[in-house]
Amino acid sequence: MKTCKLVLLLAAALPALALSVVSVQAQQQLLPGSNAKPAEPGKPAEDTVLTGSVTDESEWQDLGVAIPGFSTDRPVSTAAEGGSTDVLGKNLARVVFNDLKNNGLFKPTGPDQLPGIAYAEVAAPAFQGWRARNAEMLVQGFVKAADDGRLTVGCYLYDVALGQELARQGYVVRPDEWRRAAHKCADMVYSRLSGESPFFDSKIAYIAETGPKDHRRKQLAIMDSDGANHRFITNGQATALTPRYSPDYSRIAYLSYLNGNPRIYVYDIGTGQQHLVTQAKGPTFAPRWSPDGKYILYSMAIAGNTDIYRVPASGGESVRLTNTTGINVGGSYSPDGSKIVFESDRSGSQQVYVMNADGTNQQRISFFGARAATPEWSPRGDQIAFTYLGGNFRIAVMNPQGGGLRFLTDSWQDEAPSWSPNGRIIQFFRTERGSGRTAIWQVDLTGRNERKLKTPVDASDPAWGPVLP
């Protein structure tokens, strides 16, 4: 139901937009009304909404989405990129364009290929002209700067053929957060058209790699989901590996060889301080957060035997969850927190197991005649991504019972999948044979849309955080 969908979307956004973004409801009053007729209530919308976790999106590949530069009521200087709200308007549309371009669902046309629009047009689209350009969907927006410097960004989605407004949202952001307004707009468009949850307004932690293969410098780094706002966190003096954002983005758990031994540290982004996840004699590695952020799973080797432990993120007693001979490592919670999927070689080779969150009822689920490693539970709960080790290292998915194996990539060495917040896209790193050079790649659940993420230097161990509130 188109209207219901829209209402739900707005309602869901309401409580979350409190701090940096004024609530959508309040903001709607500021949005110029659209003269397009609203979507008819009660009209089924199956034709525009994807359902199921894996669907054939080929029909979507051709969905033309026009995104002209966002308009402004009057050019005002702003601290945001562009310096003036009229230039910023084009930058906003570029970010929306790049977000929508890179996920393989749409064929967007951006502000650099389109005429600009007048401010009055934002809420009153010239549908006839867009039809002539073969645009099926139209994203228009505006940006205004308040006296305190804050920006109000409006985002409208129109169905050109029907001459209908499908969705609108408004965001109030600080100038330095202007990209978030664009990501929220892209999220609105993506959600409304695909029926999927949003994911553009999110961040990625990863390891930046430089130097020759035998002296690799590995630094903890973070960036927005589109690679913007890149920042190195560690200086590379100590090798850093396998970062994981806490669900609220306030902390990053990662492995560091600080002081010579591999240990998990929890780095606080706000204070820049870090502490050991647990005081332990043995090496600790493979950190993972629980979905509610209250616990951290870690793996610890004692006398050569590795088991998985759980410790409160705030500190305290560790609980050992596995207890077998061999290597039990990693671990990824189901979205409801009731189960953990992990890797163990107790059978003689790396395989994927599922257990209850308290460690009981450990069951092997992978039986493919190859090794299977680094399982990660989808935020939607219905799929487990993992590294298939048989000849090439490939990113694959299976259901939580171990069935429905599907390969998503086939390269020499693809490794360490992690999910986009909406469970539609999997991020992993690819190592080049010989040189050892690494890069972060993304692939969607169909396996058809694969792309390399732009990073300043080589990159590995990517981990996606949730959509920002």
Binding site: T242, G260, A301, G304, I327, Q413, G434, G436
Partner: protein
Amino acid sequence: MRRRILSITVLASSLALAACASTPAALPPQPSGATTSTAGAQLPAPLPAGPVPGSQADFLASVLSDTIHFDTNLYTIDAESQGILQSQAQWLARNPGKSVTLEGHCDERGTRDYNIALGERRANAAKNYLVSLGVSGSRVTTVSYGKERPIALGSDEASWAKNRRAVTITVQ
């Protein structure tokens, strides 16, 4: 490596100074180009060549090898590795004040977390063998570098075989 050489030089010169103090009378001519300092022309010749007992250089000169190798995904100490570790245990018996660190390594054909665990398992397998030969466990620490520190840079079987290793480093 640079650091090792440096420490050997420092040790050698302090020994030389000690020798100088006890035997000031029998001095050979100063080698030309020597720049050493306070004792000036009174310095003796360098001591006979050879690593300082207990040093890393002495360790390397005394043992069959500082490195043992492993098969893919395994941590078995085979006959060749046993011989190497026996020679290391003998050196440790001669140098009771010395400790060692065992570094465990893997080839690049493994996932990162698992390789850290596997490197730890390899280092511990080597440690356990040393302990079985009478070396106190308190003298042997382990650290795993997983696949982070390859020495052979190719992506081929020969390189991978070289990288699947445990290396014994003396703690100086």
